[in-house]
């Protein structure tokens, strides 16, 4: 018995030594690889069907349009576009000298095919299928005709990756198509391999790419299932940068990363924000005076300090942050407990039974049901404290995302905490209208505002592409928010992207951060 155990011990020792040998060999570093850490994980090797892969593949299969660093729409695969006066006919002219990684040129046919394919087979592009009536290709120009006017098509087309027709036309159901690669692409890189087991997507340099090139032959995007491991990986130097859609590098991790001395931080104000939403269909949230009082009860500076660690600022009443095109200056949010109490008092919400909580008209204590997505627990804690100081009772209910979607769709809450994403700020009529317009439902939106004035404003925006008019409407929307407070912005924030000091040439846009073609054609290694 003892003998056999000794044998086992020897065996274990052997295994361990083999492993340690492996370890020492595993540390070989390759400098021609740009390594990006993310916490957006790829769930399935479906090029179009997987949500995260759909974000990454802009690198290999550029959409028609993109955003520049100021949020202005510029061409990506398209050189420029024209739109008919009635906004139903859009023509995109494709840039010359672009080639798929298999050597064939990119044509307007590919674009026409891709957009039509999205319309027929991809659920989230269903609107294309429902409204696109005709597609015409003329040389390097492709024209889309719709049965109703579209004004923000150029914006929509920043998210649809263009695919090679000669490959994808034989694929029966593109949304469900899975393959670990390689995929033919026309960007500076093509997608070589999606490896779920290794947890990374590998992009290789497109041999047919004619534009500027970066110093890296390979771009590796590694996804982590938790932020702690990702942050530690950056600190240890095995990753060059961090990217997560609509999110910053964790603020709490910035200090220790800076301390390593190997990283610089790219700080950009973002249009995404965290806000307090009201269920406007219920009393007393439907009362503007009540909302006004709530807005004065919130200590914005403390929220900025705690939630963004100072990488943010106190928002204005106009909701829309300065990072967005068309932003206007409105009055900043102001914390004043006295004002909050007075506003409540003069609006008829009084604490007549002296229990510290104000009563509604029917004499019952006002205790609001604060429904939150579980990632906003800290903010909810503070919110409860702030509102209770002003005499408004709060009960917090924390649920995971999907439950939250269902409950807010059923309007089963009084107030809620959620966030907007850069894309979400632009959707519908833009300037966050998509989050409030009661005619829209789904995922992250609150659809609580059915005020005719607001709805008309949305329709007006949706019916024009005239830039001066749009600027005027943007102003009106923000003034509407400032006056009516359908949602209270809690803080505006900056997105921080850390990057390896030795690498230069980073470029960031408000929509996808550093994930854009300028970055991947511009990064240089100075090591």
């Amino acid at each position: 018995m003892r003998k056999s155990q000794h044998k086992m011990c020897t065996l274990l020792f052997l295994i361990l030594s083999i492993v340690s040998v492996c370890c020492s060999m595993g540390v070989m570093a390759d400098d021609a690889i740009l390594r990006i850490a993310t916490t957006n994980d790829v769930k399935s090797p479906a090029f179009i069907g997987d949500y995260t892969l759909g974000l990454f593949n802009h690198l290999s299969n550029p959409p028609l349009m993109q955003m520049d660093e100021n949020g202005k729409l510029i061409g990506l695969l398209a050189d420029h576009y024209e739109v008919s006066p009635d906004n139903t006919e859009w023509s995109f002219v494709i840039k010359d000298n672009q080639f798929w990684s298999d050597g064939t040129p990119v044509t307007a046919d590919d674009v026409a095919f891709s957009i039509q394919m999205y319309g027929t087979s991809i659920p989230n592009a269903g609107w294309i299928g429902e409204t696109l009536t005709d597609t015409q290709v003329d040389g390097n120009k492709v024209t889309f005709k719709f049965n109703k006017p579209y004004t923000n098509l150029a914006l929509e087309f920043t998210s649809y990756s263009i695919l090679p027709k000669h490959i994808w036309e034989s694929i029966e159901n593109p949304n469900e198509f899975t393959s670990t690669g390689p995929y033919v692409g026309a960007g500076p890189y093509y997608l070589d391999n999606v490896d779920l087991n290794a947890g990374k997507v590998i992009f290789k340099r497109n041999p047919s790419w004619k534009g500027k090139i970066s110093d890296y032959d390979t771009v590796e995007i590694s996804w982590f299932k938790n932020e702690d491991a990702a942050a530690k990986a950056l600190e240890s130097g095995v990753m060059d940068t961090y990217w997560k859609y609509a999110s910053s590098y964790p603020y709490a991790a910035i200090d220790s990363l800076t301390k390593t001395g190997n990283f610089e931080m790219l700080e950009k104000p973002t249009s995404g924000l965290t806000f307090l939403g009201f269920n406007l269909k219920r009393e007393p949230m439907s009362d503007p005076a009540f909302r006004e009082a709530v807005s004065s009860a919130i200590n914005y500076q403390e929220l900025v300090d705690i939630s963004t660690l100072g990488y943010g600022k106190v928002p204005n009443r106009g909701f829309v942050p300065p990072a967005m095109d068309g932003y206007i200056q409105t009055k900043p949010m102001e914390y004043n407990l006295e004002t909050a109490r007075k506003t409540l008092d003069s609006a008829g919400y009084k604490d007549s039974d002296g229990n510290g909580i104000i009563e509604a008209a029917d004499g019952k204590d006002i205790t609001l049901d604060l429904l939150i997505r579980n990632s906003y627990a800290r903010e909810a804690e503070l919110m409860k404290e702030y509102l209770e100081k002003a005499g408004i009772g709060v009960e917090v209910r924390s649920v995971e995302d999907n439950t939250w979607f269902e409950m807010k769709d059923k309007l089963d809450y009084d107030i809620t905490l959620t966030r907007t994403t850069p894309w979400g700020m632009l959707m519908h009529a833009g300037w966050a209208t998509g989050y409030f317009d009661s005619r829209r439902t789904g995922q992250g939106v609150l659809h609580t505002v059915d005020d005719e004035v607001f709805l008309k404003l949305c329709d007006d925006i949706l019916s024009t592409t005239d830039q001066t008019l749009l600027k005027e409407y943007a102003k009106e929307v923000q003034e509407y928010y400032a006056e009516n407070l359908p949602g209270i912005p809690l803080y505006w924030k900056n997105d921080i992207t850390p990057y390896n000091k030795k690498i230069t040439g980073w470029y960031s846009n408000p929509l996808y951060g550093i994930m854009n073609e300028f970055t991947f054609t511009g990064v240089k290694s100075s090591a």
Partner: protein, 322 residues
């Protein structure tokens, strides 16, 4: 008279019970995901993407969610009988294929962990129990106790920071970097060691307790008086009895080996069954969730049968009574 093996009799007696439990489980794994709040359709796209009602309706029909629940259940049962676990629109593939590809990787790290954990637990636990006064016995027990009262994610993250970040011995994530044996070993060593420490410490505690009890009973005293060496008493007599409570637990570990270890997978960014199921829960991916729960259920039932049979074989007392 033909002598039937006791295991045979046992199995035939329990068959009905296992069949009935299986049917109940089938019903539960079908209903539970569907009772959860949240909509699998609207969750198919990102939170800032808008789906029109007609798109949602057509997707619902494609998911097979447009019919009444009992019809869905009947269709599901028919599917199962044909060996078809359905299709996942979230994962873009047939459930069976996805489960197989993920389960394989999960087994690569769970099976060694359970086996080594059981081996360490039984041998160390038995010795620690038998020689409970010695200092090393106490050290082992203390370590085992501390590990089993630490949240698994805390221990895993501490291991990550210590061995990966500070000492640089192991990689941060994934099953491998390039697909070869060396890389796989390199990547899986730390997660496996952490998992082993959990299994082993629990087994040590149970085994040690059981040996301590057995050791004071009559039969070891009797054996001692016959002049049988202590070592023999421990390994030939006490261990056999003390192991019985542990068999059920280890069998269950095997039953659950498919579900993987969620926290290990989250900490070491492994795409195994644990995270597949967790994602399926969060995304309300009914086919994946139902399918994986069903497979786990089958394994747990098999594990239970095996545990029953094994205690039957090891313990003559139970065998005679049944």
């Amino acid at each position: 008279m033909v002598k039937i093996h006791p295991a045979g009799i046992f199995l035939s007696q329990k068959l009905l019970r296992y069949l009935l439990s299986f049917f109940c489980i089938l019903l539960i794994v079908f209903l539970l995901p569907r009772m959860m709040p949240g909509d699998p359709v609207s969750n198919l796209v990102g939170e800032d993407i808008y789906l029109s009602q007609s798109t949602i309706d057509s997707l619902r029909a494609a998911f097979g969610l447009d019919t009444p629940l009992h019809e869905q259940f009947i269709r599901y049962c028919l599917q199962i009988m044909h060996g078809d676990l359905g299709y996942s629109y979230h994962m873009h593939g047939p459930v069976f294929e996805i489960l197989i590809s993920r389960a394989w990787w999960t087994l690569v790290y769970t099976i060694p962990s359970i086996i080594i954990g059981a081996w360490i637990g039984i041998s160390l636990g038995a010795r620690a129990g038998f020689q409970s006064g010695k200092w090393w016995s106490d050290v082992i027990a203390s370590i085992a106790l501390v590990i089993s009262s630490t949240p698994p994610y805390l221990l895993s993250l501490l291991a990550l920071v210590l061995f990966v970040y500070h000492l640089g011995l192991f990689p941060f994530k994934g099953f491998y970097d390039t697909y070869n044996l060396q890389s796989i070993l390199y990547h899986l060593t730390l997660p496996t060691l952490v998992l082993i420490s959990f299994y082993a410490s629990r087994n040590i505690l149970i085994m040690r307790g059981a040996v301590l009890t057995e050791k004071e009973l009559l039969y070891p005293q009797f054996a001692r008086s016959l002049g049988i060496p202590e070592r023999e008493i421990l390994f030939h007599h006490i261990r056999k009895n003390a192991i019985i409570p542990l068999i059920a637990l280890i069998a269950l570990d095997f039953g659950f080996l498919f579900s993987g270890a969620l926290f290990i997978e989250i900490v070491f960014s492994l795409s195994g069954m644990g995270s597949l199921m967790y994602d399926a829960i969060l995304a309300r991916d009914y086919p994946i969730l139902t399918g994986s729960l069903l497979i786990i259920a089958i394994f747990v039932i098999i594990a239970n049968i095996t545990a029953d049979i094994m205690s039957l074989i090891i313990d003559p007392r139970i065998r005679r009574s049944s």
